[in-house]
């Protein structure tokens, strides 16, 4: 895709020079096209860019917990932090509950309905605040709703995955470069900027999916959706370790987040490195250390019908990375990892710039949700039977 855009760029030069009827310039442009145009900008994972810096300041952290006030909830949902408040999005009831940083219930927003301050969907798949205070809600069918700072619905559209090729044609001839081939990875996370969201993608095409050997080298790994019109762009390749080890493709997804200067940072679930890439997915930097005690002897399957079952088993049994969260104001990058089936804790790595400054044990399933001074808060631990929503908090 990036190569194509460069070819178009050089072709534009070519047309301009041809109009001038300048043969030498024309020939020169052809040479330039051949030398550079076909190559395009670097999309390779250049191993020479790897940085391995460690300055461990945190090997143990004290976690406190807080319980959110009891509310009428399905107890299926997630946490979002904004403006020093904790929000709980109830994914089944479509309510957004607002709590203070100490867990005191303050207000309830949204809910199922067709009003401007309601959600016309029965289930919420994903919710996120945008940095400007607006928020986005995505339904299971990728119907998107934008709310203003007062939770009034101001926009809504269907995500456009550019389904231009007839389904029967696509089924016969899979094209890994087409966004139509992919879907959002269920239970993945969206990461929102003010004008777009970033998310991991997966192809479940019968002839092109993670049970195929060529998937690692040809598949795209990321999706980006414009918040103006819902147009989806798919891009980004898998890192080299997936090409070397077919079995690692059981964890065939990445965790991206927005980084500094419109760049993105990402980790793959079965790869110890972290990558910083620009908007065109040129890899700018590679850094990071593997987590402690991770059992990485993965097993993939070559049968699509067995993939999910195998994933469930490997997810519980094997070591893999579980989330990535970059907090811009603190310049801190958090990466979680699961060690193995016998371990009673997960691991949490903390990077400042590209230096590993912390690697600590945390409760299983731990994810960093955000920061409200002076605490870093976790994602929720929900006990549906008791009707409890618990959050861990910690200081650094």
């Amino acid at each position: 895709m990036i190569e194509l855009s460069w070819t178009i760029s050089f072709n534009s030069n070519y047309l301009h020079l041809f109009h001038m009827k300048s043969i030498p310039y024309f020939l020169f442009s052809i040479v330039v096209c051949v030398v550079f145009g076909c190559k395009g900008p670097s999309v390779s994972y250049n191993e020479s860019l790897v940085v391995n810096k460690t300055n461990l300041q945190y090997t143990k952290l004290k976690l406190d917990s807080l319980m959110l006030d009891s509310v009428n909830s399905s107890y299926v949902g997630d946490i979002a932090l904004f403006n020093d408040n904790i929000f709980f999005i109830d994914k089944k009831f479509s309510y957004l509950y607002k709590f203070s940083s100490t867990g005191k219930f303050l207000n309830r927003y949204l809910g199922q309905g067709n009003g401007k301050d309601e959600l016309p969907i029965k289930t919420v798949a994903y919710f996120s605040f945008l940095p400007n205070g607006r928020s986005i809600v995505i339904g299971p069918g990728w119907d998107c709703y934008i709310f203003d700072n007062n939770f009034k619905r101001v926009d809504g559209y269907q995500a456009n995955w550019h389904l231009d090729v007839p389904k029967d044609v696509m089924l016969k001839e899979p094209d890994p470069e087409r966004s139509q081939m992919y879907s959002f990875i269920y239970d993945g996370n969206i990461k929102a900027s003010n004008d777009k969201i970033l998310f991991p993608i997966l192809s479940q095409h019968p002839k092109f999916n993670p049970t195929r050997k060529e998937y690692a080298s040809k598949a795209l790994a990321l999706g980006e959706m414009s918040l103006d019109n819902g147009s989806v762009r798919t891009f980004g390749k898998f890192c080299p370790s997936y090409n070397h080890d077919f079995n690692s493709m059981v964890f065939c997804y990445s965790y991206p987040d927005w980084y500094e200067n419109n760049n993105m940072v990402l980790t793959f679930a079965a790869d110890p490195k972290l990558y910083i890439a620009d908007e065109k997915f040129n890899i700018i930097e590679t850094f990071g250390q593997a987590g402690r005690g991770m059992d990485t002897k993965y097993t993939n399957t070559t049968k699509l019908q067995d993939f999910k079952k195998n994933w469930f088993h490997q997810d519980a049994a094997k070591g893999h990375y579980t989330f990535l969260k970059y907090l811009k104001d603190q310049h801190l990058l958090f990466r979680g990892y699961h060690k193995s089936i016998n371990e009673k804790t997960d691991g949490l790595q903390i990077y400042k710039n590209d230096v590993l400054i912390g690697d600590v044990d945390v409760p299983l399933g731990f994810k960093v949700a955000g920061y409200i001074k002076p605490y870093y808060y976790s994602s929720p631990y929900i006990n549906e039977d008791k009707g409890e929503i618990k959050i861990y908090k910690m200081t650094l």
């Binding site: 399905s74 199922q112 289930t123 999910k308 079952k309 469930f312 549906e384």
Partner: protein, 149 residues
């Protein structure tokens, strides 16, 4: 003449009393249809229908693939007004439901069955269904759990 007038007044009084009584009684015992209409259009926060489930989850433990699991839930109206189940919304097309009645009188019960087909499922499954009713809480969540081997 006087006697006739007195008798007429007497009968009118009796008729008036009977009619007044009928009006009072009819106001107090609304028809089932009127109760439903009242419940439908009343602000759910102000209704006095109260929904309680005998349980909110059924855990089937270990099951094999391609099994039909049916969890039964009893809905009781422990309030003082007609309870109306507006909607039952399973979150998976693999789940179907059967509700014995949508309108439940005070102190009455209804039965809700949620059936899940485990075909193409593996590992731990947790399937949710949302029930909406004309109560203050409005929404309720029910769960079917199993470990598909």
């Amino acid at each position: 003449m006087i006697s006739f007038t007195m008798k007429k007044n007497y009968y009118l009084n009796i008729m008036g009393t009977v009619m007044l009584g009928m009006i009072i009684v009819s106001c107090q015992t609304k028809s089932k249809g009127q109760q439903v209409a009242d419940s439908l259009f009343r602000d759910p926060k102000k209704t006095k229908a109260v929904l309680t489930f005998d349980k909110t989850k059924v855990d089937f433990g270990n099951v094999s693939e391609d099994t039909l699991l049916t969890g039964k839930f009893t809905i009781r109206n422990s309030g003082t007004e007609m309870l109306i189940i507006n909607n039952v919304q399973p979150d998976c097309s693999c789940t179907s439901y059967h509700l014995t009645k949508r309108k439940i009188l005070p102190n009455d019960t209804a039965s809700l069955s949620l059936s899940v087909m485990t075909k193409h499922k593996s590992g731990k499954i947790m399937l949710y269904s949302t029930v909406s009713a004309n109560t203050e809480n409005r929404l309720y969540s029910l769960r079917i759990l199993a470990n598909v081997n």
